[in-house]
């Protein structure tokens, strides 16, 4: 099973450096050669003993799957996972996905960062030219810039950028560092995954509800509606949504509808469950169904009056009465836009025939239990807050909440093991911006206000951002929107003074760093992480080898910075990373005494736990006794009309096309199916890809080859453009241009093209800026969504031409 040295493949696979070694030049260490591009199994002689260490995946997915790492001669030779040969679908097995199984190619990638680097003299940010420096020089440069920014502006000008490339109990020391060395930093709210839904959910269900029931609850449902979600693609592991969805689908007696413009991979083999819809119009479908529910008496009036506010005139808050402000008024055309939300109205927008909307409404209104779940695709749009809220209206209107077989319309929840993380310490800066506003705050921070830009904590930001820490994240350019605009802001050294970057590979975002520190993969460190899906698990990870080259863990790098600024003790409290792990795990065990001891956990690697309730129904206590278990909304009930949101609307400014309402309504997207133009006649939507997690793994050649970067285009749109399967096409709009391959397929609706997001941006930024990598964010808008100020990255229109 183990490869042996084969000179021909060795030379072929490793290039000039390896050829040198194979020719007997000597001198170069094996380690150096492998880091230059050859996964070590290619060259590992059958010597040395093989060790197996457990570790875990740590990228932005709740999967955190088990990695069984085979190590020989201090190199990883194979990455297996945790599995048992059993038919029992309830046996919790966090099996790693194709990405987890490709770690070896990533860890030994030729673009791995091995030494501290500084931007080469005379080059601009974004050019990607760097020179090796010592740790001492790197730390001194960081400390000097930090001191000057603090002196000239203060901690409000220091920002820790959103990053999702490394998770674990002690993985994320940067906020703690910034708090320890200077009293804080400008922070953010929201995230790039579910900014809109995350923002609106507390208005609907209160702050204690953030997700729905576990997926296995749908086994007991009579009807399952899945909006804008592909659970098997977005959480691919063997003990999270991928497995849980497959198991649920096999066991449920309920009919399933997956409502998506794309016949996504969760529908493979089950195309009869696909309900194709125009993108960005889910709220219109809900309104059309809701209209039928009301007119046919299929609403649960008792639930709507006892558990909710704002459904009809009677249940509106006092201050809102008599003005046609109820949800029912919106549906019947007696309030708001004065348009009745008939199935015919909805059909023209959604592309779903009126007769189909009627029959679906009948199913929704007469089947119990109804399980409604949404992914985060529906809400990652310019109308995402109101769309996410609208989807929750189907279980609300029919009273399918808090009962067996139901959810609340939010994304599936999980039964997870919660571990205590590294404490951040106290941040003295009150100001927050939306996560999507970082580049705006560099460009024009001191003009950003609460009313216009969603700044929180202060009315106006005191300073532009001058010092950025960007660690384990690709959200400066690649995963941000409108890359061409971002480049111009970031490349301007008169704006941001200093960017500290740290990562494992040279990414597009890392090219905007002034100093780069070489990071470790989580699987190269001692680690702990807890997570879950239908069932829970924890993984304790051990080091496969000591850090190679001059790479350091984030914790050790942060310690050096703290030391240079005279705050080492404040940062470390005298503990190493492993000592923190032991300490924090002790705190976790105080809360959850059934967890195994630290040494036992480390030895066994994988710890699993079944949900003692088997299935977790969300909002069960509220349903059983709403007076004793009120929601944390102002009314204690589910809010269909939100007075708090009405007040928010009154205090903030919005663009005319934002059409904000204190109830869940359908609003056409700024750049969507209802707002296409002659120049940009197609809607363009992104989706999660199996071969990457956002941009993570995006440079791993073997994954790229079997997960090609393609534009999904319906034959009805491809044919008039002369586009055939496999052709290179150019996608253009008002923000930029990209090129990729065409996948001509009936799996996307006519008028809408789709592409997997996260491909690595690859453009000559000093030249034509045409992105040959096919990164959708070359074409996305930087305008934030109206409430959450979140990323509306599926809200795009475009033209497609054959190259």
């Amino acid at each position: 099973m183990h490869a042996h040295l084969d000179r021909r493949s060795f030379v072929k696979g490793t290039g000039a450096l390896a050829a040198l070694a194979a020719a007997g030049a000597g001198g170069a260490s094996a380690t150096a050669l492998f880091a230059a591009g050859a996964p070590p199994a290619c060259a590992a002689a059958d010597s040395g003993t093989e060790r197996v260490v457990w570790n875990h995946c740590a990228i932005n997915c709740p999967g955190r799957c088990a990695l069984k790492v085979y190590v020989r001669d201090d190199e990883i030779v194979r990455v297996d996972t945790y599995a048992a040969d059993t038919d029992d679908l309830d046996d919790i097995q966090p099996r790693a996905c194709l990405r987890g199984r490709s770690y070896r190619a990533w860890v030994y990638h030729p673009d791995r960062i091995n030494y501290p680097l500084k931007r080469a003299a005379g080059t601009r940010r974004g050019e990607g030219k760097y020179e090796r420096i010592s740790w001492d020089e790197a730390i001194a440069t960081i400390a000097e810039n930090y001191r000057s920014v603090i002196k000239n502006y203060g901690p409000e000008a220091v920002y820790l950028n959103y990053c999702t490339g490394n998770y674990g109990v002690t993985a994320r020391p940067w906020s703690r560092l910034l708090n320890a060395i200077g009293g804080g930093h400008l922070s953010f709210y929201g995230n790039y995954s579910l900014a809109q839904l995350m923002w609106i959910t507390p208005y609907i269900f209160g702050s204690s509800v953030s997700a729905g029931s576990t997926l296995n609850v749908a086994e007991d449902a009579g009807l399952v509606l899945v909006f804008g979600s592909s659970p098997v693609e977005t959480r691919q592991g063997g003990a999270v949504s991928h497995h849980d969805y497959v198991a649920m689908r096999e066991r449920t007696k309920g009919k399933i509808y997956v409502i998506d413009p794309r016949l996504n991979d969760s529908l493979l083999g089950h195309s009869d469950e696909w309900l194709p819809i125009n993108p960005g119009t889910d709220a219109a479908l809900v309104a059309g169904i809701a209209y039928e529910l009301v007119n046919n008496g299929w609403t649960d009036e008792e639930f709507l009056h006892d558990y909710c506010v704002g459904y009809d005139e009677e249940s509106l808050p006092e201050g809102a009465k008599g003005q046609g402000l109820s949800y029912k008024d919106y549906l019947l055309g007696t309030g708001y836009d004065k348009v009745a939300k008939t199935p015919e109205w909805a059909a023209a927008i959604t592309g779903i025939a009126a007769a189909k909307i009627r029959s679906l409404a009948k199913e929704v209104g007469t089947t119990k239990p109804l399980f409604v779940v949404q992914g985060w695709g529906s809400q990652r749009r310019s109308n995402g807050e109101l769309t996410g809220w609208s989807i929750c209206m189907l279980p609300i209107l029919t009273g399918n909440i808090g009962l067996p077989g139901t959810s609340n319309g939010l994304r599936e929840g999980s039964y997870a093991i919660a571990l205590t993380g590294l404490p951040d310490g106290d941040n003295s800066v009150d100001a927050m911006i939306s996560v999507f506003s970082m580049v705006d705050a560099i460009d024009r921070g001191s003009s950003m206000t609460e009313a216009a830009d969603g700044v929180v904590g202060v009315e106006r930001l005191p300073y532009d951002i001058k010092f950025v820490v960007n660690w384990a994240g690709n959200c400066i350019t690649n995963q941000n929107s409108d890359i061409n605009w971002v480049h111009d802001v970031m490349a301007d050294e008169d704006k941001c003074q200093f960017v500290l970057g740290s990562d494992i590979l040279m990414t597009d975002s890392l090219k905007y760093s002034d100093i780069i520190l070489p990071d470790l993969f989580r699987l190269e460190q001692t680690s702990l992480i807890g997570t879950g899906g239908d069932g829970a698990y924890m993984i304790a990870g051990s080091e496969p080898y000591a850090p190679k080259f001059e790479r350091k863990s984030a914790y050790d790098a942060a310690t050096l910075i703290a030391r240079a600024l005279g705050k080492e003790q404040e940062f470390t409290e005298g503990r190493t990373q492993e000592e923190w792990l032991r300490h924090l795990y002790g705190l976790s065990r105080e809360k959850d005494p059934s967890l195994p001891g630290y040494d036992t956990a480390m030895q066994q690697g994988v710890y699993t736990r079944k949900n003692p309730k088997k299935k977790t129904v969300v909002m069960e206590a509220f349903r059983s006794d709403p007076a004793a278990n009120p929601l944390k909304t102002p009314s204690g009930k589910i809010e269909i009309y939100s007075e708090k949101l009405a007040a928010h609307i009154a205090m903030h400014t919005f663009a005319p096309d934002d059409k904000v309402t204190p109830i869940p309504t359908y609003v056409p997207e700024w750049h969507g199916v209802e707002t296409t133009t002659k120049e940009n006649p197609l809607a363009l939507s992104g989706f999660h890809y199996r071969g990457r997690l956002h941009s993570s793994w995006g440079a791993v050649e073997q994954l790229k080859l079997l997960n090609p970067q393609e534009l999904w285009i319906n034959p009805a749109d491809a044919q008039p453009r002369g586009i055939c399967q496999g052709d290179t096409v150019r996608v253009t709009n008002q923000f930029g241009a990209m090129e990729l391959l065409a996948k001509v397929t009936p799996r996307t609706v006519p008028g809408t093209v789709c592409t997997p997001q996260g491909a690595w941006h690859d453009a000559n930024m000093a030249g034509d800026r045409v992105d040959k990598g096919g990164c959708i964010n070359t074409l996305t808008t930087h305008r934030p969504s109206p409430f959450a100020k979140g990323n509306p990255q599926h809200t795009n229109i475009c033209q497609v031409t054959k190259v």
Partner: protein, 206 residues
Amino acid sequence: MSQLAFFLDGTRCTGCKTCVFACKDIKDLEAKHAYRHVYEYTGGETLKDAQGAIASTCFTYALSVACNHCSSPICAQVCPTGAMHKSESDGLVTVDAARCIGCGYCHMACPYNAPYVDRAKGHSVKCDACADLVRAGDKPACVMACPARALRFDTMEACSARGERANTAPLPDPSYTEPNLYLKPARDARPAASSEGRVANPLEVR
């Protein structure tokens, strides 16, 4: 002899290709090589009528296929040196690298695209069902990798009790080589002889 076989539950397979990458890792294959392929077979239409209403007849499913360790292995039958051979004990079909001359007849003969000649290695290569693991009592890497628990490996008797012999498009008629791949078909599955759809991911199965 107890012939060993793969079983694929087509109602569970989501086409994720984790099986492919588990194989690539354990076999240490170069980026462009794979012993297992996941086909996307797709057909039908998704159209909009004059009123903009969408109607779809689209069907699509994934099929994960490696070497099927056929009962009538055409690859072994055409091999001029006997390098490609079938085990009498467990029916696995493997290459004796020392005897293989790299002529490529097996590659041309196999209707499942299983063997190919690795020019760097100088001989034919393909899935051996992780014979070392299997003969030590374990299961092939691909099987133990499947997050959806769709793929299994067992005796032909056990697998044939769960499904039918490789009778799904785009595979050839199973009577040709008697493949030891048994399938529980997806709802969308079309029969082996069907020309209703096409392989929709040609770049992923080269």
